[in-house]
Symmetry: D2
Subunit: 432 residues, 4 copies
């Protein structure tokens, strides 16, 4: 395949095309197909955007019907039938059954726009500028969100100083023996800590981009408690791990916390269409009309598929159960792999269908494995500040057989790379 047009015309900023240097032309479910017809199993899922797979026919049919009927495609934030139906469905299938009471703000249809709106609102509500974000957190790369994104790769690109954010250690940042929440509490309690009083905390329950770091339920509950006791709002950025990724629609459901604001995007439309949503506790909704705008803030095609996705997958608990089963399957597989490669410094972490295979930081082991896997027909991404974690992120709907084949490729690739580096004695590998 000829990638020359990309090399000539696309900015050097292009990224994934470098990891997966083929031209994809089609996609079905959990498979991508390149221009030569080669099929790839997708453990990447558009970085969490394709929880229901590529070109899910349930959603596509509804979309095509809508297009055929001259439904409104673009309407800024005017009222449309598609938007009305989305709101009704969100209320009926997601919020009400969970006893949640949120108002919905539709921002420009990318995750970062939702985060921008959330950060603005918490600052307006509390009249303070500082917010707390966490090590290895990722919340987007536009100016406001970027200030809360930890990775230097993104931060230095700003070309300006990023302020009004204090970074705190995420759960487990100093190893399993240190309770990082005690650290934050100490700083908040101490008027001489240098920590300017925050309007809010923004947190991912599982840091996808940051290396599949999982916050424990207890840590999240302590965080919520700190927010209440120190008059800070709690914003959960559920953009990557919401919409069912953990088995529940919201990633925080099992922890029992009640965020003040939730940001959603990625898999919200269910079909890979740009869409974003900020859920706001009604009493915090002090927005002035039109004070946050955006041309594409009502993406009606996304409303259509999002409504259908909720109807297809969130009317009963079937999806949650299937995710749980797959989580076990993936987890077992990866732990076996780690076990079989003992001495290589691998480990597993994750929750639901976001599982990370962590390699020792500092070398490019994970990237080598991903590259090798791609050669063998598996699309898998690395994450973490040093790209040291392989992120297993299949569609929630991936057929069991494809999931197994993907894991086989991952295992084989890991072994190949470790062996080529002399990290695993051949014998051990055979034993594994």
């Amino acid at each position: 395949m000829d990638l020359k047009i990309f090399e000539r015309m696309e900015s050097e900023v292009r990224g994934y095309i470098r990891s997966f240097p083929v031209i994809f032309s089609k996609a079905q479910g959990s498979e991508l197909i390149d221009e030569r017809g080669r099929r790839y199993i997708d453990f990447f899922s558009g970085a969490g955007t394709l929880n229901y797979g590529h070109n899910n026919p349930l959603l596509r049919d509804r979309l095509v019907d809508y297009l055929a009927s001259d439904g409104v495609v673009h309407g800024l934030d005017m009222a449309t039938s598609a938007k009305k139906y989305f709101l009704q469905t969100l209320d009926r299938l997601i919020l009400k059954p969970r006893g949640l009471n949120y108002k919905a703000q539709f921002t420009g249809p990318t995750g970062t726009n939702a985060v921008e709106a959330a950060l603005k609102l918490v600052r307006q509500v509390k009249g303070r500028q500082n917010v707390i974000a966490f090590t290895h957190g990722f919340h987007g790369v536009s100016g406001g969100s970027l200030a809360t994104t930890a990775n230097q790769k993104f931060r230095v690109a700003a070309g300006v100083a990023l302020g009004n954010t204090s970074f705190m250690p995420f759960d487990g940042y100093f190893g399993p023996d240190v309770n990082t929440m005690a650290y934050l509490e100490r700083l908040l309690d101490d008027p001489g800590s240098g920590l300017d009083r925050p309007a809010a905390v923004i947190v991912e329950t599982i840091q996808g981009e940051g290396g599949v770091n999982v916050a424990s339920q207890g840590w999240l509950r302590e965080l919520e408690h700190l927010c209440r006791s120190h008059d800070m709002l709690l914003v959960v950025d559920d953009i990557q791990v919401g919409c069912g990724r953990t088995g529940h629609f919201f990633s925080f459901e099992s922890s029992g916390i009640s965020p003040d604001i939730v940001t959603l995007s990625k898999s919200l439309s269910g079909f890979g269409l740009p869409m974003s949503l900020v859920l706001i506790r009604p009493e915090l909704d002090i927005w002035k009309p039109g004070a946050h705008s955006g041309t594409f803030r009502g993406n009606n095609l996304a409303f259509v598929t999002a409504s259908q996705a909720m109807e297809s997958y969130w009317t009963d608990t079937g999806l949650s159960e299937r995710v749980a089963a797959k989580e076990c399957f993936v987890r077992d597989w990866l732990e076996n792999l780690v076990h079989s490669c003992r001495g290589a410094g691998l480990s597993v972490r994750g929750r639901g269908l976001i599982q990370g295979l962590a390699t020792p930081a500092g070398d490019d082991l994970a990237q080598r494995i991903a590259r090798r896997a791609f050669e063998q027909g598996l699309v898998i991404e690395t994450s973490g500040a040093r790209d040291e974690v392989l992120k297993v992120l299949p569609a929630l709907t991936i057929p069991h057989e494809l999931l197994g084949r993907g894991l086989e490729i991952l295992e084989r690739s890991t072994n190949d790379v470790l062996e080529s580096l002399g990290r695993i004695p051949r014998m051990l590998k055979a034993a594994g």
Copy 2:
């Protein structure tokens, strides 16, 4: 129509739904149709997003075919056939014929994401933090862009101080007799002006959101000259008035200037689908791989319709000629209207098919007229910091007959409102 679900569930930030309080269910060409079947002529065009009309069948057919063939919908910034074709078409039909040499960066698919990327890049290139923006400019509401957006309504919502931007008076800001470029030059030349050395200037050739303020060709050329002589980059934000709105694909073509960076969005996909693009002079493309990311930065459905839009409308000069003809028609009509309402303080300004009917600031005349027009079946937006300018922004493809009917409604509404306010003696009106 029952808007209760919106009132209950949508954030107070909602805007246009308040101006156009109906539920739209369908849209065809230059008409919107509400749930009761009532048709409205659209002079709003999704704030410049629908240059080729709603649900343009040329584009829709291609889109439906693509969906039917399981084309890749979501692929982050991986290479896809749809993206390849878009790049080839952009080069063939837009850049090459105009002698332009730009590289393309696909950002998150909203205008503000493109502006964020442009601002980051200019700061990286020049190693300076300050940029120049203009009074009444609008470049988006995410943190980085917002700092360059002039309107206080948006700025105060940030909840933080917005910096690294110096606002300068746009062309005509102090009336026709003051050359605002001389002002900027004075400040740039003077090491004691307080103006920190800027990395770049960001400018709209016509300020859509800011009140249909048109920069003259001479002013733009002087600006480019200042950029060159003071080592600043020139960024043209062509999000609202690019893609043919002025008759040319780029709004700056007729002025002869050569921007270093151009941002496009809105009508780029041609179908109302979220899409954004930053065009960069190749020697400035110092981006590090992956340093600016975004989940939806390769919206393949938009690539499909954008390619088709270029093929349908930009292979010859037909569209430009039709825009020119319509511009004359609209302009004449509006100038007649102003003439007939002399004493009411109205005036006309604009270029191509973005024309503003300006009313005296400080009262809500424009909003009253827009409201009256909507009652009569015309969707028209106000703009300007005080919503004092009616923005005539029809699709470029609007049939002559609909255009005329829309203008009739606008004229009638203007007369109605002026009369109701006692601003026009009945006699004069009759004479008009």
Copy 3:
């Protein structure tokens, strides 16, 4: 004289030592004496710090007595007899006679510390971050003040972006025909100007460092009016031109304006001792105890000399009258000089005993003249963003004879330099 120890040990930041490369050992009244015993007439006055001359014996005697009596020298902001007496004297001789009602804040004893306090207070009072400062303004170089100082030489040294300040054109910035206050008013009135609502305006009535730029009384009154009508506080930085420099104790007295806050320093102690003062309208004094601190904020030796200075010079109008007479004398002389050098592009501006001889910007004429004058025994400073203005800033108490001799040297030096550059035909000079 051997300056090697300075070259070896003092930072490259040293400045005036480069213009006046001798070692001064003594100073009396308006004369400086170097280590070789050479005398220099002082038209520099410590940049406005020595309004009553060097080592004024009236003040020195009081100071020596105080030292001999073991008066408190350092007491932070504890109450001392010297401070009490200063407050009483300030009230009795300065505030009461002028009908002024201010509270006094003693900050760290440098001008910039006073400005820092003033800026903090206005932001606290109004709850806004932005302030307005002016082109060519100078308010100090510590972080907060520096943001309001216009000269790039100082700004770039910060190494960080300086924000929360909007620079506006000072009176006359665009020449005599442009009313710069109308510019500011336009921006303040327009919600789309990009100007964030300011807490306050900080202004020098005469910009000393900025090039002896004089604000007209009318301009100052318009500024005060704008402050009132736009709910902004008015801060007059009277550090350089207060304490009698214009003939009145405060430079703004003749204009009739009533600043909300006034900063004083430089000649306040009367003896060249570090001292600063912020005068605050009582209703604005919302400071929390101890919220602004500083080790030397009660410089008792300065209280002693400051009290004596007020008693020696501000019990009657004698000083004001003498300043007025000297102003006329200097002004006449300078205007004659300009006249005699016609064609050289010189001009005069100033008020009271701060008079500027402006040279065409862009060459180093003023610096050459200053250098030549120093060779002939006159210490005179240049100012302005390009060091293009010779600043005539003698002690208010300078004897007439010394003043005349100094002006003769200035005239001769000007002629010498112009002649050496071929700017004045010998004939014209003779005629002059």
Copy 4:
């Protein structure tokens, strides 16, 4: 004594006058005398400014002689004989004997001005904006310094967001078992920590204002090591604990570290006169001439007394030995006091003649004790973010007898207050 004039005329910001509500008129050595003639032992020493006592006659005589001889009092940064002699003496008695090679920058004569200059320089040198400061650190209240000062009382007064500073835990911040340097190292090593690359670290070896927190020698050496390995400059702010407070001229001498930049002020002049100094490794002295200015940056009277102080106290090791002896005496006394009050939660910390008697945070025990001590004739300050630490800060030259009497008062006051609060059983107290 009548404090009404202060209440009426001095800003609410006044602080120490509230703790010590008398009017001091004289001061000798380690005693302050109020207007009624009552004598107070001074354990406060102008917050570290009077290391050689009040009105030290050795210094005063030199000062009076200088004044009598018409020595230059004010000379901006021109060369003077007094300044030359100071530089020579600094080199001969302080730098050379310690093998130190620094250049000297004289800033505006307050500590915060020196810190401002240091922060500017490190940012210029490294081309980065961020700096690291520590919990409970105090570096001044002007804009640049304030950003590195941890205490919220000072920070919120700014009225603007303070940025470009990352606060790290000081030695012992999480108790004796946590190595806070490991925390900092973890963040520096991790590109995903959110810590923007710092230009420098600014640190006090003992935090005076912050509560007499002592950095161990090992911690300081680790910090220096981190600075070297991560290309950060090391700035030691020795304003409060330099000039002999710890027994050595510089507080960091005993640790063996070599700061890149050192700031001095407070006791530098030896007489309570405003003076500040930045010591800079020569290769870092990239200042542009005049880029950091200040009216009082060459306080010649301070040069005179500072030179004399060095000659009187730093020609041999006598002062160091006397400080060591007094440290033992004070320390023993305080530890006995703590022992005798066991159960009250007191503790001692400090180094040299800065010793803190820490009380449980959260009540106002320390302030009550200080108030009680003042009633009994002892001036003693509290410090710490909650004013929970009594700071024993006598002059280094305090006579043994006065030191003992002061400690007796402190002990008695402590007992009185604890008893009145019922915190010490009478029996225990008797035993003590």
